[in-house]
Symmetry: C2
Subunit: 250 residues, 2 copies
Amino acid sequence: MLTAKERARVEVVLVRARNPNNIGAVARAMHDFGFGRLAVVSDYPVPLETARAAIDADEVVARAATPGSVAEAVRTCTLVLGTTAVGERALEHPLWTLKDAAARVREHMVDNAVHRVGLLFGSEKTGLSNEELSHCHALVTIPMEQYAGVRHPSMNLGQALAVCLYELVREREMERVISAPAMATSGDVDRLRELFAEVLQVSGYVRRHPAKSDEAQVRRLLLRAVPTAMDAPVWMGVLRQVLWGLRREK
Amino acid sequence: MLTAKERARVEVVLVRARNPNNIGAVARAMHDFGFGRLAVVSDYPVPLETARAAIDADEVVARAATPGSVAEAVRTCTLVLGTTAVGERALEHPLWTLKDAAARVREHMVDNAVHRVGLLFGSEKTGLSNEELSHCHALVTIPMEQYAGVRHPSMNLGQALAVCLYELVREREMERVISAPAMATSGDVDRLRELFAEVLQVSGYVRRHPAKSDEAQVRRLLLRAVPTAMDAPVWMGVLRQVLWGLRREK
Protein backbone atom coordinates (compact mmCIF):
# COMPACT_ATOMS: atom_id res chain seq x y z
CA MET A 1 0.00 0.00 0.00
CA LEU A 2 1.49 3.32 -1.06
CA THR A 3 1.45 6.19 1.42
CA ALA A 4 0.08 9.60 0.45
CA LYS A 5 3.65 10.85 -0.10
CA GLU A 6 4.44 7.89 -2.31
CA ARG A 7 1.23 8.35 -4.29
CA ALA A 8 2.33 11.93 -4.95
CA ARG A 9 5.34 10.44 -6.74
CA VAL A 10 3.23 8.43 -9.19
CA GLU A 11 2.70 10.05 -12.58
CA VAL A 12 -0.24 8.78 -14.62
CA VAL A 13 0.51 9.41 -18.31
CA LEU A 14 -2.23 9.10 -20.92
CA VAL A 15 -0.74 8.83 -24.40
CA ARG A 16 -2.91 9.97 -27.31
CA ALA A 17 -6.08 10.06 -25.19
CA ARG A 18 -8.52 12.22 -27.10
CA ASN A 19 -11.91 11.31 -25.66
CA PRO A 20 -12.73 13.77 -22.85
CA ASN A 21 -15.03 11.17 -21.24
CA ASN A 22 -12.09 8.83 -20.89
CA ILE A 23 -9.88 11.57 -19.45
CA GLY A 24 -12.65 12.49 -17.02
CA ALA A 25 -13.10 8.85 -15.95
CA VAL A 26 -9.35 8.55 -15.37
CA ALA A 27 -9.29 11.72 -13.29
CA ARG A 28 -12.21 10.50 -11.20
CA ALA A 29 -10.55 7.16 -10.42
CA MET A 30 -7.33 9.01 -9.52
CA HIS A 31 -9.28 11.22 -7.13
CA ASP A 32 -11.06 8.20 -5.61
CA PHE A 33 -7.79 6.45 -4.81
CA GLY A 34 -5.83 9.54 -3.79
CA PHE A 35 -3.54 10.07 -6.79
CA GLY A 36 -3.09 13.58 -8.16
CA ARG A 37 -0.48 13.74 -10.93
CA LEU A 38 -1.91 13.35 -14.42
CA ALA A 39 -0.18 14.10 -17.74
CA VAL A 40 -1.82 13.88 -21.14
CA VAL A 41 0.48 13.54 -24.14
CA SER A 42 -1.18 14.31 -27.45
CA ASP A 43 -0.39 15.69 -30.90
CA TYR A 44 -3.74 17.45 -30.82
CA PRO A 45 -5.01 20.03 -28.34
CA VAL A 46 -6.38 18.10 -25.37
CA PRO A 47 -10.00 18.99 -24.55
CA LEU A 48 -9.33 19.26 -20.83
CA GLU A 49 -12.12 21.83 -20.41
CA THR A 50 -14.69 19.21 -21.35
CA ALA A 51 -13.15 16.56 -19.11
CA ARG A 52 -13.24 19.06 -16.28
CA ALA A 53 -16.92 18.26 -15.84
CA ALA A 54 -16.08 14.88 -14.31
CA ILE A 55 -17.51 14.50 -10.82
CA ASP A 56 -14.96 15.03 -8.03
CA ALA A 57 -12.12 15.15 -10.51
CA ASP A 58 -11.92 18.89 -11.17
CA GLU A 59 -8.73 19.39 -9.24
CA VAL A 60 -6.90 16.48 -10.88
CA VAL A 61 -7.82 17.74 -14.35
CA ALA A 62 -7.07 21.38 -13.50
CA ARG A 63 -3.55 20.41 -12.45
CA ALA A 64 -2.96 18.03 -15.38
CA ALA A 65 0.19 18.56 -17.41
CA THR A 66 0.28 18.40 -21.22
CA PRO A 67 3.86 17.54 -22.11
CA GLY A 68 4.79 17.44 -25.77
CA SER A 69 6.16 13.90 -25.75
CA VAL A 70 6.41 10.71 -23.71
CA ALA A 71 10.09 11.48 -23.11
CA GLU A 72 9.14 14.81 -21.56
CA ALA A 73 6.31 13.26 -19.52
CA VAL A 74 8.58 10.69 -17.85
CA ARG A 75 11.76 12.82 -17.65
CA THR A 76 11.89 12.79 -13.82
CA CYS A 77 10.71 9.17 -13.40
CA THR A 78 13.02 6.44 -12.16
CA LEU A 79 10.70 3.56 -13.08
CA VAL A 80 8.43 3.68 -16.11
CA LEU A 81 5.77 1.03 -16.65
CA GLY A 82 3.73 0.63 -19.81
CA THR A 83 0.32 -1.02 -19.62
CA THR A 84 -0.51 -3.53 -22.32
CA ALA A 85 -3.09 -6.14 -23.19
CA VAL A 86 -0.17 -8.22 -24.60
CA GLY A 87 -1.29 -8.69 -28.17
CA GLU A 88 0.79 -10.44 -30.70
CA ARG A 89 3.57 -7.93 -30.18
CA ALA A 90 7.04 -9.41 -29.83
CA LEU A 91 8.02 -8.65 -26.28
CA GLU A 92 11.32 -6.97 -25.69
CA HIS A 93 10.45 -5.98 -22.15
CA PRO A 94 9.95 -7.83 -18.89
CA LEU A 95 6.22 -8.48 -18.55
CA TRP A 96 4.67 -8.33 -15.08
CA THR A 97 1.15 -9.04 -13.92
CA LEU A 98 -0.40 -6.04 -12.21
CA LYS A 99 -0.09 -7.75 -8.83
CA ASP A 100 3.67 -8.23 -9.24
CA ALA A 101 4.11 -4.77 -10.71
CA ALA A 102 2.42 -3.18 -7.69
CA ALA A 103 4.78 -5.04 -5.36
CA ARG A 104 7.75 -3.77 -7.38
CA VAL A 105 6.44 -0.21 -7.33
CA ARG A 106 6.15 -0.38 -3.55
CA GLU A 107 9.71 -1.69 -3.26
CA HIS A 108 10.94 0.99 -5.62
CA MET A 109 9.24 3.77 -3.65
CA VAL A 110 10.06 2.75 -0.12
CA ASP A 111 12.95 4.55 1.57
CA ASN A 112 13.78 6.49 -1.54
CA ALA A 113 12.16 9.87 -1.71
CA VAL A 114 13.56 10.73 -5.15
CA HIS A 115 12.14 7.69 -6.89
CA ARG A 116 9.20 8.53 -9.14
CA VAL A 117 7.07 6.05 -11.06
CA GLY A 118 5.46 6.72 -14.44
CA LEU A 119 2.43 4.65 -15.43
CA LEU A 120 1.74 4.85 -19.17
CA PHE A 121 -1.61 4.12 -20.80
CA GLY A 122 -1.98 4.09 -24.58
CA SER A 123 -5.04 4.79 -26.64
CA GLU A 124 -7.87 2.24 -26.33
CA LYS A 125 -7.67 1.33 -29.97
CA THR A 126 -3.97 0.86 -30.55
CA GLY A 127 -2.35 0.75 -27.12
CA LEU A 128 1.21 2.05 -26.82
CA SER A 129 3.44 2.11 -29.91
CA ASN A 130 6.86 0.50 -29.95
CA GLU A 131 8.48 3.94 -29.75
CA GLU A 132 6.36 4.81 -26.71
CA LEU A 133 7.11 1.45 -25.09
CA SER A 134 10.85 2.04 -25.56
CA HIS A 135 10.65 4.56 -22.69
CA CYS A 136 9.45 1.80 -20.33
CA HIS A 137 11.48 -0.38 -17.99
CA ALA A 138 8.78 -3.06 -18.01
CA LEU A 139 5.27 -3.84 -19.22
CA VAL A 140 2.30 -4.46 -16.97
CA THR A 141 -0.76 -6.46 -17.87
CA ILE A 142 -4.07 -7.03 -16.13
CA PRO A 143 -4.77 -10.76 -16.48
CA MET A 144 -8.01 -11.09 -18.42
CA GLU A 145 -10.07 -13.91 -19.79
CA GLN A 146 -8.73 -15.47 -22.97
CA TYR A 147 -11.30 -16.61 -25.45
CA ALA A 148 -10.33 -19.30 -27.91
CA GLY A 149 -10.24 -17.89 -31.40
CA VAL A 150 -11.24 -14.40 -30.29
CA ARG A 151 -8.96 -11.40 -30.42
CA HIS A 152 -7.23 -10.57 -27.19
CA PRO A 153 -9.52 -8.42 -25.05
CA SER A 154 -8.61 -4.87 -24.14
CA MET A 155 -10.13 -2.98 -21.27
CA ASN A 156 -11.92 0.32 -21.18
CA LEU A 157 -9.31 2.98 -20.29
CA GLY A 158 -11.06 4.28 -17.16
CA GLN A 159 -11.66 0.75 -15.89
CA ALA A 160 -8.06 -0.35 -16.54
CA LEU A 161 -6.74 2.71 -14.71
CA ALA A 162 -9.11 2.14 -11.77
CA VAL A 163 -7.96 -1.48 -11.46
CA CYS A 164 -4.28 -0.43 -11.56
CA LEU A 165 -4.65 2.24 -8.89
CA TYR A 166 -6.78 -0.05 -6.74
CA GLU A 167 -3.97 -2.63 -6.76
CA LEU A 168 -1.54 0.06 -5.56
CA VAL A 169 -3.69 0.98 -2.55
CA ARG A 170 -5.34 -2.40 -2.01
CA GLU A 171 -3.83 -3.00 1.42
CA ARG A 172 -5.20 0.27 2.73
CA GLU A 173 -6.95 -0.08 6.05
CA MET A 174 -10.41 1.37 6.25
CA GLU A 175 -10.36 4.45 8.39
CA ARG A 176 -13.79 3.78 9.73
CA VAL A 177 -13.82 0.02 10.22
CA ILE A 178 -17.12 -1.26 11.48
CA SER A 179 -16.26 -4.81 10.70
CA ALA A 180 -19.42 -6.50 11.95
CA PRO A 181 -22.25 -6.05 14.43
CA ALA A 182 -21.37 -7.49 17.86
CA MET A 183 -22.42 -11.11 18.27
CA ALA A 184 -24.75 -12.34 21.00
CA THR A 185 -23.00 -14.03 23.92
CA SER A 186 -23.47 -17.72 24.67
CA GLY A 187 -25.53 -16.63 27.66
CA ASP A 188 -27.87 -14.65 25.39
CA VAL A 189 -28.22 -17.65 23.10
CA ASP A 190 -28.96 -19.94 26.03
CA ARG A 191 -31.71 -17.69 27.32
CA LEU A 192 -33.14 -17.67 23.81
CA ARG A 193 -32.92 -21.44 23.72
CA GLU A 194 -34.86 -21.82 26.98
CA LEU A 195 -37.63 -19.58 25.74
CA PHE A 196 -37.62 -21.32 22.36
CA ALA A 197 -37.85 -24.72 24.07
CA GLU A 198 -40.91 -23.46 25.92
CA VAL A 199 -42.49 -22.37 22.65
CA LEU A 200 -41.79 -25.77 21.13
CA GLN A 201 -43.34 -27.42 24.19
CA VAL A 202 -46.46 -25.29 24.47
CA SER A 203 -47.09 -25.28 20.72
CA GLY A 204 -47.13 -29.07 20.64
CA TYR A 205 -44.02 -29.30 18.42
CA VAL A 206 -42.16 -31.43 20.97
CA ARG A 207 -45.02 -33.93 21.13
CA ARG A 208 -45.08 -34.27 17.35
CA HIS A 209 -41.31 -34.17 16.74
CA PRO A 210 -39.62 -35.43 19.90
CA ALA A 211 -36.48 -36.51 18.01
CA LYS A 212 -35.89 -32.95 16.78
CA SER A 213 -36.43 -31.24 20.08
CA ASP A 214 -33.53 -32.10 22.38
CA GLU A 215 -31.58 -29.30 23.97
CA ALA A 216 -28.36 -29.68 21.99
CA GLN A 217 -30.18 -29.75 18.68
CA VAL A 218 -32.07 -26.59 19.50
CA ARG A 219 -28.89 -24.85 20.65
CA ARG A 220 -27.12 -25.74 17.39
CA LEU A 221 -30.11 -24.49 15.45
CA LEU A 222 -29.95 -21.15 17.22
CA LEU A 223 -26.17 -20.82 16.95
CA ARG A 224 -26.33 -21.43 13.21
CA ALA A 225 -28.78 -18.58 13.03
CA VAL A 226 -25.84 -16.51 14.36
CA PRO A 227 -27.79 -13.94 16.33
CA THR A 228 -26.21 -10.56 16.89
CA ALA A 229 -26.28 -8.78 20.23
CA MET A 230 -28.67 -6.34 18.59
CA ASP A 231 -31.05 -9.06 17.42
CA ALA A 232 -31.15 -11.27 20.54
CA PRO A 233 -33.53 -9.04 22.53
CA VAL A 234 -35.79 -8.76 19.46
CA TRP A 235 -36.02 -12.53 19.26
CA MET A 236 -36.68 -12.77 23.01
CA GLY A 237 -39.58 -10.35 22.57
CA VAL A 238 -41.00 -12.30 19.62
CA LEU A 239 -40.80 -15.61 21.47
CA ARG A 240 -42.42 -14.19 24.62
CA GLN A 241 -45.26 -12.81 22.53
CA VAL A 242 -45.73 -16.14 20.73
CA LEU A 243 -45.71 -17.95 24.05
CA TRP A 244 -48.30 -15.58 25.44
CA GLY A 245 -50.49 -16.15 22.37
CA LEU A 246 -50.11 -19.91 22.55
CA ARG A 247 -51.04 -19.99 26.23
CA ARG A 248 -54.06 -17.80 25.75
CA GLU A 249 -55.34 -20.20 23.08
CA LYS A 250 -55.59 -23.01 25.60
CA MET B 1 -8.98 -16.95 -7.92
CA LEU B 2 -12.36 -18.27 -9.03
CA THR B 3 -12.44 -21.00 -11.67
CA ALA B 4 -14.59 -20.64 -14.79
CA LYS B 5 -17.25 -22.85 -13.20
CA GLU B 6 -17.24 -20.73 -10.05
CA ARG B 7 -17.46 -17.51 -12.07
CA ALA B 8 -20.56 -18.96 -13.75
CA ARG B 9 -22.13 -19.01 -10.27
CA VAL B 10 -21.61 -15.28 -9.69
CA GLU B 11 -24.63 -13.11 -10.44
CA VAL B 12 -23.95 -9.40 -11.01
CA VAL B 13 -27.10 -7.47 -10.14
CA LEU B 14 -27.47 -3.81 -11.15
CA VAL B 15 -30.26 -2.15 -9.20
CA ARG B 16 -31.96 0.84 -10.81
CA ALA B 17 -29.26 1.24 -13.45
CA ARG B 18 -30.76 3.31 -16.22
CA ASN B 19 -27.81 4.69 -18.13
CA PRO B 20 -27.07 2.35 -21.06
CA ASN B 21 -23.44 3.52 -21.09
CA ASN B 22 -23.04 2.27 -17.54
CA ILE B 23 -24.69 -1.05 -18.36
CA GLY B 24 -22.44 -1.38 -21.40
CA ALA B 25 -19.32 -0.62 -19.34
CA VAL B 26 -20.37 -3.21 -16.76
CA ALA B 27 -20.95 -5.83 -19.45
CA ARG B 28 -17.57 -5.12 -20.98
CA ALA B 29 -15.73 -5.55 -17.68
CA MET B 30 -17.64 -8.79 -17.06
CA HIS B 31 -16.57 -10.06 -20.46
CA ASP B 32 -12.95 -9.01 -19.84
CA PHE B 33 -12.75 -10.98 -16.61
CA GLY B 34 -14.82 -13.97 -17.72
CA PHE B 35 -18.11 -13.42 -15.90
CA GLY B 36 -21.36 -13.93 -17.78
CA ARG B 37 -24.42 -13.61 -15.54
CA LEU B 38 -25.88 -10.11 -15.44
CA ALA B 39 -29.28 -9.06 -14.07
CA VAL B 40 -30.70 -5.56 -14.26
CA VAL B 41 -33.48 -4.71 -11.80
CA SER B 42 -35.45 -1.62 -12.72
CA ASP B 43 -38.91 -0.14 -12.40
CA TYR B 44 -38.50 1.24 -15.90
CA PRO B 45 -37.91 -0.64 -19.14
CA VAL B 46 -34.15 -1.22 -19.38
CA PRO B 47 -32.60 0.05 -22.63
CA LEU B 48 -30.56 -3.10 -23.18
CA GLU B 49 -30.63 -2.61 -26.95
CA THR B 50 -28.55 0.55 -26.59
CA ALA B 51 -26.12 -1.06 -24.18
CA ARG B 52 -25.68 -3.88 -26.64
CA ALA B 53 -23.34 -1.66 -28.64
CA ALA B 54 -20.66 -2.06 -25.98
CA ILE B 55 -17.48 -3.52 -27.43
CA ASP B 56 -17.05 -7.25 -26.77
CA ALA B 57 -19.99 -7.30 -24.43
CA ASP B 58 -22.80 -8.24 -26.79
CA GLU B 59 -23.19 -11.73 -25.43
CA VAL B 60 -23.30 -10.67 -21.78
CA VAL B 61 -25.98 -8.07 -22.52
CA ALA B 62 -27.94 -10.39 -24.80
CA ARG B 63 -28.17 -12.96 -22.01
CA ALA B 64 -28.91 -10.40 -19.27
CA ALA B 65 -31.94 -11.07 -17.08
CA THR B 66 -34.40 -8.36 -16.07
CA PRO B 67 -36.01 -9.62 -12.87
CA GLY B 68 -38.79 -7.54 -11.35
CA SER B 69 -37.20 -7.17 -7.92
CA VAL B 70 -34.01 -7.66 -5.95
CA ALA B 71 -35.66 -10.62 -4.18
CA GLU B 72 -36.26 -12.29 -7.53
CA ALA B 73 -32.73 -11.48 -8.76
CA VAL B 74 -31.03 -13.17 -5.81
CA ARG B 75 -33.55 -15.98 -5.26
CA THR B 76 -31.05 -18.77 -6.02
CA CYS B 77 -28.07 -17.10 -4.32
CA THR B 78 -26.58 -18.47 -1.10
CA LEU B 79 -24.44 -15.40 -0.38
CA VAL B 80 -25.55 -11.91 -1.29
CA LEU B 81 -23.13 -8.97 -1.05
CA GLY B 82 -24.13 -5.33 -1.41
CA THR B 83 -21.53 -2.82 -2.54
CA THR B 84 -21.42 0.48 -0.70
CA ALA B 85 -19.32 3.59 -0.33
CA VAL B 86 -20.25 3.51 3.39
CA GLY B 87 -21.86 6.88 3.78
CA GLU B 88 -23.41 8.01 6.96
CA ARG B 89 -25.77 5.05 6.90
CA ALA B 90 -26.12 3.20 10.19
CA LEU B 91 -24.61 -0.18 9.53
CA GLU B 92 -26.65 -3.23 10.41
CA HIS B 93 -24.51 -5.53 8.29
CA PRO B 94 -21.02 -6.91 8.53
CA LEU B 95 -18.80 -4.62 6.45
CA TRP B 96 -15.91 -6.19 4.54
CA THR B 97 -13.19 -4.61 2.44
CA LEU B 98 -13.22 -5.91 -1.11
CA LYS B 99 -10.07 -7.91 -0.45
CA ASP B 100 -11.66 -9.77 2.48
CA ALA B 101 -14.95 -10.18 0.64
CA ALA B 102 -13.18 -11.85 -2.30
CA ALA B 103 -11.51 -14.30 0.07
CA ARG B 104 -14.90 -15.14 1.60
CA VAL B 105 -16.49 -15.58 -1.81
CA ARG B 106 -13.74 -18.04 -2.73
CA GLU B 107 -14.28 -19.98 0.50
CA HIS B 108 -18.00 -19.97 -0.07
CA MET B 109 -17.68 -21.29 -3.61
CA VAL B 110 -15.06 -23.95 -3.16
CA ASP B 111 -16.28 -27.54 -2.94
CA ASN B 112 -19.88 -26.51 -3.04
CA ALA B 113 -21.37 -26.55 -6.50
CA VAL B 114 -24.78 -25.28 -5.40
CA HIS B 115 -23.46 -22.10 -3.78
CA ARG B 116 -24.19 -19.00 -5.81
CA VAL B 117 -23.05 -15.48 -5.03
CA GLY B 118 -25.01 -12.31 -5.80
CA LEU B 119 -23.09 -9.05 -6.13
CA LEU B 120 -25.41 -6.03 -5.88
CA PHE B 121 -24.62 -2.56 -7.22
CA GLY B 122 -26.95 0.36 -6.60
CA SER B 123 -27.43 3.46 -8.68
CA GLU B 124 -24.47 5.85 -8.80
CA LYS B 125 -26.44 8.63 -7.23
CA THR B 126 -28.11 6.94 -4.29
CA GLY B 127 -26.45 3.55 -3.88
CA LEU B 128 -28.56 0.70 -2.51
CA SER B 129 -31.61 1.52 -0.37
CA ASN B 130 -32.13 -0.01 3.06
CA GLU B 131 -34.78 -2.33 1.63
CA GLU B 132 -32.38 -3.47 -1.08
CA LEU B 133 -29.57 -3.94 1.45
CA SER B 134 -31.85 -6.10 3.61
CA HIS B 135 -31.39 -8.89 1.04
CA CYS B 136 -27.63 -8.87 1.67
CA HIS B 137 -25.62 -11.03 4.04
CA ALA B 138 -22.85 -8.45 4.16
CA LEU B 139 -21.67 -5.17 2.67
CA VAL B 140 -18.51 -4.74 0.63
CA THR B 141 -16.57 -1.54 0.22
CA ILE B 142 -13.64 -0.55 -1.96
CA PRO B 143 -11.31 1.41 0.31
CA MET B 144 -10.98 4.88 -1.15
CA GLU B 145 -9.30 8.11 -0.22
CA GLN B 146 -11.06 10.09 2.47
CA TYR B 147 -10.91 13.83 2.13
CA ALA B 148 -11.33 15.90 5.25
CA GLY B 149 -14.57 17.82 5.10
CA VAL B 150 -15.51 16.46 1.70
CA ARG B 151 -18.42 14.13 1.11
CA HIS B 152 -17.49 10.49 0.93
CA PRO B 153 -16.40 9.61 -2.60
CA SER B 154 -18.36 7.19 -4.72
CA MET B 155 -16.93 5.43 -7.73
CA ASN B 156 -18.10 5.32 -11.29
CA LEU B 157 -20.26 2.17 -11.65
CA GLY B 158 -18.23 0.57 -14.44
CA GLN B 159 -14.98 1.24 -12.60
CA ALA B 160 -16.28 -0.11 -9.28
CA LEU B 161 -17.50 -3.27 -11.00
CA ALA B 162 -14.17 -3.72 -12.82
CA VAL B 163 -12.26 -3.40 -9.55
CA CYS B 164 -14.55 -5.95 -7.83
CA LEU B 165 -14.25 -8.54 -10.58
CA TYR B 166 -10.50 -7.97 -10.85
CA GLU B 167 -10.15 -8.79 -7.14
CA LEU B 168 -12.05 -12.06 -7.70
CA VAL B 169 -9.67 -13.21 -10.46
CA ARG B 170 -6.56 -11.43 -9.27
CA GLU B 171 -4.57 -14.58 -8.60
CA ARG B 172 -5.10 -15.81 -12.14
CA GLU B 173 -1.94 -16.98 -13.80
CA MET B 174 -1.23 -15.54 -17.19
CA GLU B 175 -1.74 -18.20 -19.80
CA ARG B 176 1.00 -16.83 -21.95
CA VAL B 177 3.64 -15.83 -19.45
CA ILE B 178 6.66 -14.29 -21.05
CA SER B 179 7.95 -12.96 -17.82
CA ALA B 180 11.18 -11.41 -19.10
CA PRO B 181 13.65 -11.63 -21.95
CA ALA B 182 16.37 -14.21 -21.26
CA MET B 183 19.39 -12.70 -19.54
CA ALA B 184 22.91 -12.86 -20.92
CA THR B 185 25.12 -15.50 -19.30
CA SER B 186 28.16 -14.58 -17.22
CA GLY B 187 30.27 -15.83 -20.14
CA ASP B 188 28.53 -13.40 -22.49
CA VAL B 189 29.11 -10.56 -20.05
CA ASP B 190 32.75 -11.48 -19.68
CA ARG B 191 33.32 -11.46 -23.42
CA LEU B 192 31.66 -8.06 -23.51
CA ARG B 193 33.89 -6.90 -20.68
CA GLU B 194 37.05 -7.97 -22.54
CA LEU B 195 36.01 -6.11 -25.64
CA PHE B 196 34.95 -3.10 -23.57
CA ALA B 197 38.31 -3.11 -21.77
CA GLU B 198 39.99 -3.02 -25.15
CA VAL B 199 37.87 -0.02 -26.16
CA LEU B 200 38.80 1.77 -22.93
CA GLN B 201 42.46 0.99 -23.59
CA VAL B 202 42.62 2.03 -27.22
CA SER B 203 40.48 5.13 -26.74
CA GLY B 204 42.83 6.44 -24.08
CA TYR B 205 40.22 6.23 -21.27
CA VAL B 206 42.44 3.93 -19.18
CA ARG B 207 45.32 6.35 -19.39
CA ARG B 208 43.15 9.25 -18.26
CA HIS B 209 41.10 7.36 -15.63
CA PRO B 210 43.20 4.44 -14.43
CA ALA B 211 41.32 4.25 -11.11
CA LYS B 212 38.02 3.63 -12.88
CA SER B 213 39.27 1.02 -15.26
CA ASP B 214 40.03 -2.12 -13.30
CA GLU B 215 38.44 -5.38 -14.34
CA ALA B 216 36.04 -5.78 -11.42
CA GLN B 217 34.77 -2.24 -11.77
CA VAL B 218 34.08 -2.69 -15.44
CA ARG B 219 32.34 -6.04 -14.83
CA ARG B 220 30.05 -4.50 -12.22
CA LEU B 221 29.28 -1.64 -14.60
CA LEU B 222 28.24 -4.09 -17.28
CA LEU B 223 26.25 -6.30 -14.91
CA ARG B 224 24.30 -3.28 -13.67
CA ALA B 225 23.41 -2.57 -17.26
CA VAL B 226 21.72 -6.02 -17.08
CA PRO B 227 22.23 -7.11 -20.65
CA THR B 228 19.75 -9.57 -22.12
CA ALA B 229 20.80 -12.52 -24.24
CA MET B 230 19.22 -10.68 -27.14
CA ASP B 231 21.21 -7.50 -26.53
CA ALA B 232 24.64 -8.99 -25.83
CA PRO B 233 25.50 -9.67 -29.52
CA VAL B 234 24.31 -6.16 -30.43
CA TRP B 235 26.69 -4.66 -27.88
CA MET B 236 29.51 -6.89 -29.11
CA GLY B 237 28.92 -5.57 -32.63
CA VAL B 238 28.88 -1.96 -31.47
CA LEU B 239 32.09 -2.35 -29.48
CA ARG B 240 33.88 -4.11 -32.36
CA GLN B 241 32.88 -1.29 -34.68
CA VAL B 242 34.04 1.36 -32.21
CA LEU B 243 37.33 -0.48 -31.76
CA TRP B 244 37.80 -0.67 -35.52
CA GLY B 245 37.16 3.07 -35.83
CA LEU B 246 39.51 3.94 -32.98
CA ARG B 247 42.30 1.83 -34.47
CA ARG B 248 41.87 3.35 -37.90
CA GLU B 249 42.24 6.81 -36.41
CA LYS B 250 45.73 5.99 -35.29
